[in-house]
């Protein structure tokens, strides 16, 4: 087969794969500019008069439906998402990076068991833990607080940070740290000046991944908080109103909620790629 034909075939295949994965996203973006009437038209048509009504409703917080006006607090939910995800990732990095270093560098009694226990948090179905946790949260007055939710979010983000960053620390030769210490630097300086910079791509990748996981979480906030602290994932439920489902607003809400993660992914892409190629440039 000629190489030109192969190339053409490859392009066709890549477009097909791309369409397969991106079409739902594209459709959601289109939906966010449609009225409910356009969305529910059968057969569906890509030709419609675009409207900003959905976005305006989200931003102003007034949703007018056939059965009257409904107050929605979507922008507040969006802010909650940002607060919860950013705080969870920051706390996880502060706790997880030194812990990952300890697990990577030192063998201590029960170390492997501890690391595995942290990983096992990811095995259990969250609902199983959540109902008893609800009881505790109400007793401890953690219900419906950012603090409580960030704490529970550690179940999602901390194991990710710990296990990903641990692998990166294990890949960095201990001798590099020892060489730095011989040059007259203390343990702490070595950790901050050598270990962390060398594991930075891993830390960035782990931070981004756990941010996405935290951002997409639904069940924790649904049960452990009210609308005061709930993120967009739970907030989108408000669009299922008495008079029907507001598909247009749901789509617009989705588009708005994807933007922060998308922006973050684009900005950290360099680190992600660096992280993947680190293995290739290691001495």
């Amino acid at each position: 087969m000629s190489s030109q034909l192969l190339r053409a075939l490859r392009i066709v295949l890549m477009v097909m794969v791309g369409l397969f994965f991106l079409f739902p996203l594209l459709w959601v973006v289109l939906m966010s500019f449609m009225t409910n009437v356009d969305i529910l038209r059968s057969p569906p048509s890509p030709f419609f008069v675009p409207t900003l009504r959905n976005y305006l409703a989200l931003i102003s917080g007034h949703l007018s439906t056939s059965s009257g006006n409904v107050q929605i607090d979507y922008m507040h939910n969006l802010l909650n998402s940002v607060i919860l995800s950013v705080c969870s990732v920051v706390v996880s990095l502060i706790l997880g990076v030194p812990a990952a270093y300890a697990f990577a560098r030192y063998k201590f009694r029960g170390g492997e068991d501890m690391a595995f226990t942290l990983l096992s948090f990811r095995f259990a179905p969250p609902l199983l833990v959540l109902l008893p946790l609800l009881g505790y949260f109400q007793t401890l007055h953690l219900y419906d607080t950012y603090f409580g939710l960030v704490w529970v979010y550690q179940l999602i983000t901390l194991p990710l940070v710990l296990w990903i960053v641990r692998g990166y620390f294990e890949d960095v030769s201990e001798d590099i740290e020892l060489a730095y210490r011989l040059d007259g630097h203390g343990w702490l300086a070595t950790f901050f000046k050598i270990s962390i910079p060398l594991a930075r791509p891993g830390i960035a990748a782990a931070g981004l991944l756990s941010f996405i996981f935290a951002w997409n979480n639904f069940i924790f906030a649904l049960i452990l908080g009210s609308s005061d602290v709930q993120p967009v994932t739970v907030g989108a439920l408000a669009f299922i109103t008495a008079s029907g489902i507001e598909y247009g607003q749901i789509a617009a809400a989705l588009v708005l909620s994807v933007i922060p993660t998308l922006v973050l992914a684009i900005f950290t892409q360099r680190y992600l790629v660096e992280g993947l190629s680190l293995g290739a440039i290691k001495g």
């Binding site: 590099i176 011989l182 007259g184 343990w187 440039i281 290691k282 001495g283």
Partner: protein, 372 residues
């Protein structure tokens, strides 16, 4: 630029019952270059890492000058080290890797540049100074690692397998340069290596280690001519020393083959080994002279032993001949081409001072050379 003294130093790793380093004592003089020589797992790297401060000392003391450094942090010991795995900082250029330790010590910029240039010229690193470590070959990285250690002003220099990755020609050249540099600057240096040629070429004294124990600490000549025990005798020298078991008879040593039958006899003074029944004897391959049968009269008081040539290899500048004597096998090395073909008869002349006697049970040296 200081003495380095180890006194009864032992290391037991957590979870292990064995001593990886067992009561090692050695006094390294100011400006002396020594080599720790041994096979993998003999405790040489553990010893080096204890001096650097990366491993705790289980018992014993390590001193630099008069200061006990056991409990000092690595950063407080003022030792420089070249790592076996190079341990270069990947994000820094070669130049900055070398200068790294100097930048901290308030050394003037011009002085840093001068020293980096001197050490990189010595190690042929000039063209690589602006490159990054991941883009260098193993041998080049190793030289950078060596340069980073040598550029410092340290009390002691620890070099772990410093030239294992270098090409043979460059290695020979750099060995000489580094040795001159270290001698000139009176650098107290410990080199860890499993390569005896390197140990002997670079160092003033060599410490042979096995199973955590210091077997012998002496000059290369000591190790070759006066090995302290059977381990050193068999470890030092290429090809290794010929070793046999012998029984003491009246006025002669009866050398036995593997099945215990007498293979050949070496005359000795009557009563020289009185009180002993069995001995181990060793003969260096380089000290055995090969002659044609009938020329024996020239031997004087040396032992003359007939044998049969079993193999004969010319290695370009010397010959390795395998000789069968009864049931024993002996390797002889001659620095000339040996004509004798396989199967021909020869007479071996072994100088009396080339016969090493060891205790059969403890392996400790009893005598180096028979009395005439």
């Amino acid at each position: 630029m200081s003495t380095l003294t180890l006194t009864d130093v032992s290391k037991v790793y957590p979870g292990s019952s064995e001593r990886s380093v067992d009561d090692v004592s050695m006094a390294i003089k100011d400006g002396e270059i020594i080599a720790l020589l041994g096979s993998s797992g003999c405790g040489k790297t553990s010893t080096l890492r204890m001096v650097a401060g990366f491993e705790s000392v289980t018992s014993g003391t390590i001193r630099i000058g008069d200061t006990v450094i056991n409990r000092l942090k690595p950063s407080e010991r003022n030792v420089a080290m070249a790592f076996e795995g190079y341990a270069l900082y990947p994000p820094l250029k070669v130049r900055d890797n070398i200068a790294f330790s100097l930048l901290r010590g308030r050394t003037a910029k011009a002085e840093i540049d001068r020293r980096v240039k001197a050490v990189s010229d010595m190690l042929e690193l000039g063209p690589m100074l602006e490159k990054f470590p991941p883009n260098l070959s193993g041998g080049q990285q190793q030289r950078v690692s060596l340069a980073r250690a040598l550029v410092r002003d340290a009390s002691a220099y620890l070099l772990d397998e410093p030239m294992s990755q270098l090409e043979p020609q460059l290695r020979a050249l750099l060995r000489a340069r580094i040795k001159d540099h270290m001698t000139l600057h009176r650098m107290t240096t410990v080199i860890v290596t499993h390569d005896q040629t390197e140990a002997i070429a670079l160092s003033d004294r060599v410490a042979v280690m096995d199973k955590g124990l210091l077997q012998q600490f002496g000059t290369p000549e000591d190790l070759r001519e006066r090995p302290a025990n059977l381990f050193v005798a068999s470890f030092i020298g290429e090809p290794p020393m010929n070793l046999y078991t012998a029984e003491v008879g009246g006025g002669e040593l009866v050398v036995l083959d593997e099945r215990g039958t007498p293979a050949f006899r070496i005359p000795c003074q009557p009563g020289e080994f009185a009180g002993r029944r069995r001995l181990s004897i060793g003969i260096r391959p380089h000290r055995v002279h090969l002659g044609a049968p009938g020329n024996g009269a020239a031997g004087g008081s040396d032992a003359l032993i007939p044998g049969e040539v079993l193999s004969n290899h010319w290695l370009g500048d010397h010959s390795h001949a395998g000789i069968g004597i009864g049931g024993c096998f002996l390797i002889a090395v001659a620095d000339r081409h040996v004509e004798a073909g396989v199967g021909s008869q020869v007479v071996l002349r072994i100088p009396r001072d080339a016969i090493h006697i060891f205790d059969d049970e403890t392996g400790l040296a009893v005598a180096h050379g028979l009395s005439a």
